[in-house]
């Protein structure tokens, strides 16, 4: 589905220095896979997501979607951001209807579809609210509904639950998996939480500190549908987490040693 080919990204910082954010990333993502990109802050994982999204052009290398080079954003790759990025001048319903309306869907149809989506994400009754009146968790649900509304083939999620409290986070993780199970879209999920990556994904792409490189790709072989209450006691789940954390600890030590 998505091919990332020797992508590097260089940013110019204000000090006129060049900052190498990503170094020679090559990655292949299959259709229908739930892939997490895991790494510490500043490792360029969000940048990688933005390149796939077409929001940022790579300095070197190429990202391809279904064989075609990614030149810009499009409804085939829908983003969900940590900051929600909801349009404050539109109601919840207005936000969700934006994509379909943009694609030329008739108003009444778009409205019906959007209401159904909002129901699915658990926000029935809140259609006429403005984003400012919602909690963080609710805003993220709207953001998710808004992206799903234009039926992207790929979901690009940039630490979507990072701004939420732990309780809301776990609820939304469960809800996300439930929604994902319905049509199994391809998902690229950026996170710094090992536990979250293992819980949600089929594959975890571990990245190094800046300049970001792929350290390791780990296949998560746990059955679906996944329930947290069951998984917490599953030794394989725990093993994955320990293994990944150990790898991070080791490399940290390597970096600290002179």
């Amino acid at each position: 589905m998505i091919e990332i080919d020797s992508v590097s990204q260089v940013f110019q910082t204000s000090a006129r220095q060049d900052h190498l954010a990503l170094s020679d990333i090559s990655l292949s993502i299959e259709n229908g896979a739930f892939v997490s990109i895991l790494g510490p802050s500043g490792c360029g994982k969000s940048t990688l997501l933005y390149i796939v999204g077409g929001f940022v052009q790579p300095t070197e290398g190429l990202a391809k979607m279904k064989g075609k080079a990614i030149k810009g954003p499009g409804p085939d790759r829908g983003p969900v951001f940590q900051e929600f990025a909801l349009f404050p001048w539109k109601t919840v319903l207005g936000n969700v209807m934006y994509g379909p309306r943009q694609q030329g869907v008739k108003h009444s149809d778009a409205e019906a579809q959007s209401r159904a989506l909002l129901d699915m994400v658990g926000l029935k009754g809140f259609e006429d609210f403005y984003p400012k009146e919602l909690s963080g968790g609710m805003k993220q649900r709207v953001a998710l509904a808004r992206t799903l509304a234009y039926h992207p083939e790929v979901l690009l999620m940039d630490e979507p639950f990072g701004a939420l409290d732990a309780h809301t986070r776990t609820r939304l993780q469960n809800d996300l998996l439930n929604i994902w199970e319905r049509d199994r879209k391809t998902v690229l999920f950026v996170t710094h939480s090992v536990e979250e990556a293992v819980f949600l994904s089929d594959k975890v792409v571990m990245m190094t500190r800046s300049p970001g490189r792929i350290r390791q790709i780990i296949n998560i072989d746990l059955p679906r549908p996944r329930r947290r209450s069951e998984l917490l006691l599953d030794p394989r789940y725990q093993a994955y987490i320990v293994e990944i954390e150990r790898m991070f600890d080791d490399s940290d030590e390597n970096e600290l040693r002179p």
Binding site: G53, P75, G78, A85, P88, R146
Partner: protein, 255 residues
């Protein structure tokens, strides 16, 4: 703020105004100021009521309001357009920014004589002066609002299928609305001030002219009336703009 808090705040705020009127009255009653120089508040109040119901005075108000609105509207259209253009297009920005930097601190009222020479002593010179003065706050706040739009809003819209040329109207403009309206509020007050001043310097009609005429004939009462009128007009117009603002920005969180 709850109802009780608001009322007590309002009452508290009326005290200095009431005090001012009281001091005013006292100065007259106790003879500290001659009536010719400082008429009692009551006299001013009645005179105001009388003037407002007179057709000639209403025509003066109409002249002032016409120039005010014309100048303000042009300033809004021009300011928002240029501000948006400069925010999204680096080439336009490079040209506009230094010009604004040079013209903004310039006391535009100094241009008034030039305007008089170029377009005459009628409505146009005043409208143009109002436009020049009100333009900059509106332009600057539009530019500021448009250039600080959250990047992820634009990205979300583009991913949803918005072509780049539509992003300006569908995302940047609504997102910049709070800033634009703040600039408009400032521009409106400036318009009130400038139109009045221009009419004072040279005019044959309008509230400013009424003031100057009264001054020349030493009619102190008639001097207060246009001042209070423009103050009230300013308050009313500001209030109307506030109402428009709360409606347009009902979705935005309070800043």
């Amino acid at each position: 703020m709850n109802a009780r808090g608001f009322t007590s705040d309002l009452l508290l705020g009326l005290i200095p105004i009431a005090l001012l009127v009281a001091v005013w009255q006292a100065l007259v009653s106790f003879g500290y100021a001659p009536v010719t120089l400082l008429p009692p508040p009551g006299q001013v109040f009645w005179r105001m009521l009388h003037q407002i119901s007179s057709v000639t005075f209403q025509e003066e108000i109409a002249a002032t309001l016409f120039r005010l609105f014309a100048g303000f509207s042009i300033a809004v259209i021009l300011g928002v357009t240029v501000g948006l253009a400069a925010a999204v297009n680096p080439a336009i920005n490079a040209v506009v920014r230094p010009i604004v930097r040079v013209l903004a601190p310039l006391p535009k009222v100094a241009l008034y004589p030039a305007l008089l020479l170029l377009v005459g002593f009628g409505h146009e010179s005043k409208i143009l002066l109002v436009t020049f003065d009100a333009l900059f706050p509106i332009l600057l706040s539009t530019y500021y609002g448009a250039s600080t739009v959250e990047q992820k809003l634009i990205w979300s819209a583009m991913a949803a299928g918005t072509p780049p040329r539509e992003v300006l109207f569908k995302v940047v403009l609504p997102a910049a609305a709070p800033s634009i309206l703040t600039g408009c509020r400032i521009g409106l007050v400036i318009s009130c001030i400038v139109v009045f001043l221009a009419e004072m310097i040279t005019s044959t009609d309008g509230l400013g002219h009424v003031l100057v005429t009264a001054a020349r004939t030493f009619q102190a009462v008639d001097m207060f009336v246009p001042l209070i009128t423009i103050s009230l007009l300013g308050l009313i117009l500001n209030g109307l703009l506030e109402l428009l603002r709360s409606y347009l920005l009902r979705g935005f969180p309070e800043v």
